[in-house]
Amino acid sequence: MLKLNQVHTAIGGLQIIQNVSLEIGKGEFVALLGSNGAGKTTLFRTIAGVLKPHAGSVTFEGVPIDRLPVHKIVERGLVLCPQGRQLFPELSVQKNLLLGAYPIRGEKKRIQKNLDRVYALFPILRERINQKAGTFSGGEQQMLAIGRALMSEPKMLLLDEPSVGLAPLIVKLIADVISNINQEMDTTVFLSEQNANMALNITQRGYVLESGRCVLDGDCQHLKTDEKVRKAYIGA
């Protein structure tokens, strides 16, 4: 479904992503592990088209997307739920969600269906339809961000560190919802996390990123028992 071939990305002259190749099949649930600053966000932004790789290629469903503008990539069904949530703080919950449905604007029925689906996942959002997104707590904002990303029925969802800075209770809730999205809604999910414990528990496969290079990959059981991964990401 998604294929990266020897991707290099630089920001402001600084090489951040170096020679990353990976492939994710339809319906898979894959983790991207890496410490802070390893380049996870940069990689995701490259896939989503916010940054343009200066070498290598990104293909989605067989079509090269690395030169497309972001909105065209979204229209193809590849949606990034960004780190830091990137909500519209002054707009209501409802409007945030409706903007998530921008690629399918006009299709009233479909939008309503998706709205109901998101409210079913996160009942708390339904209670606060008219509250401004900016006044939400961190956990609620994360839910809204995920909900918004689902509004256009993406074929593939990139989730960038949804658990960062969240309380243990909320982390668990979010983890459940993401598994649910992958399994029940049949959405391919690529999840970036430095909380390896959580990520490796719910995903099937994972890549490990260090200083912009992909240093390790394999299925989760394998990764969990890897000595280096244990020491660096999971702890004694």
Binding site: L14, S35, N36, G37, T135, S137, G138, G139, E161, V164, G165, L166, A167, P168, L169, I170, V171, K172, Q194, N195, A196, N197, M198, K231, A232, Y233, I234, G235
Partner: protein
């Protein structure tokens, strides 16, 4: 050491912190935990003068510091780091440290302009202290580097170094390991222990329970702006209210 008396903060209609009191004892590591939006950072902001409390007071020893400006509070020995790593990222590592040391010196406008005899002395003193503290946080070799070239962990260390350089009595650390992986978290934990060994009191906000439980002498738990518990790690672990509001019955994350 540092005591907080009935602190309350309202933002418009929202009460972010409600009637919170506690005392931090000299030499301990005091942790503040709680769900997102519980008001932890707001509490820190009031303790350091970044925000004015709507109600309540903060004392350092006998001295009331609430209502004073941040720089006055720093001068009374309270240093802090921010939740999102905050550095002077247009400047070099050493410059960051010197700036933080400046208030302890006489490096003011006239001394600088006129290069008075004191100026040289202060300049040397500032440099020495900066280098010493950099060595303490493990960044001695990086003194000439620019901030963007540092790793995340190094940036966190530098942030802690900036707080320490002016020799505070107490440092307030807001999520010093936020976003770090386990390995790095462990190293920062060791650094915090080292700070405690220096006799500096530490007040800490974290979400990483494993780390907190091992490090803190005492913990206060906030929920919806209110303090719902205070005690030793063992007491907190078994506190029913805390489990329901925050821990969710599971103690590692």
């Amino acid at each position: 050491m540092l005591s907080v008396k009935s602190l309350t903060k309202q933002f418009g209609g929202l009460t972010a912190v409600r009637d919170v009191s506690f005392d931090i004892r000299p030499g301990e590591v005091f942790a503040v935990i709680g769900p997102n939006g519980a008001g932890k950072s707001t509490l820190f902001n009031m303790m350091t003068g970044t925000l004015k409390p709507t109600w309540g007071k903060v004392f350092i020893g006998e001295d009331e510091i609430s209502g004073r400006r941040p720089y006055q509070i720093v001068a009374r020995g309270v240093a802090r780091i921010f939740q999102t790593t905050s550095l002077f990222d247009q400047l070099r590592v050493i410059d960051n440290m010197m700036i933080a040391y400046k208030w302890r010196t006489g490096l003011g406008f006239w001394n600088t302009l006129l290069h008075t005899p004191g100026w040289k002395k202060y300049q040397a003193e500032a440099f020495m202290n900066a280098m010493e503290t950099l060595a303490f946080v493990g960044l001695a070799e990086k003194s000439e580097q620019l901030i963007p070239t540092l790793s995340q962990e190094e940036q966190k260390r530098l942030a802690i170094g900036i707080a320490l350089v002016s020799k505070p009595k107490i440092v307030l650390l807001d999520e010093p390991t936020g976003g770090l992986i386990q390995e790095e978290t462990d190293r920062i934990t060791r650094l915090i222990e080292k700070i405690r060994e220096q006799g500096i009191t530490v007040c800490l906000i974290e979400h990483k329970m494993q780390m907190i439980m091992g490090l803190a002498n005492r913990i206060a738990v906030l929920n919806y702006g209110e303090k719902i518990a205070e005690g030793t790690p063992d007491e907190i672990k078994n506190n029913q209210a805390v489990i329901e509001a925050y821990l969710g019955g599971e103690i590692h994350a």
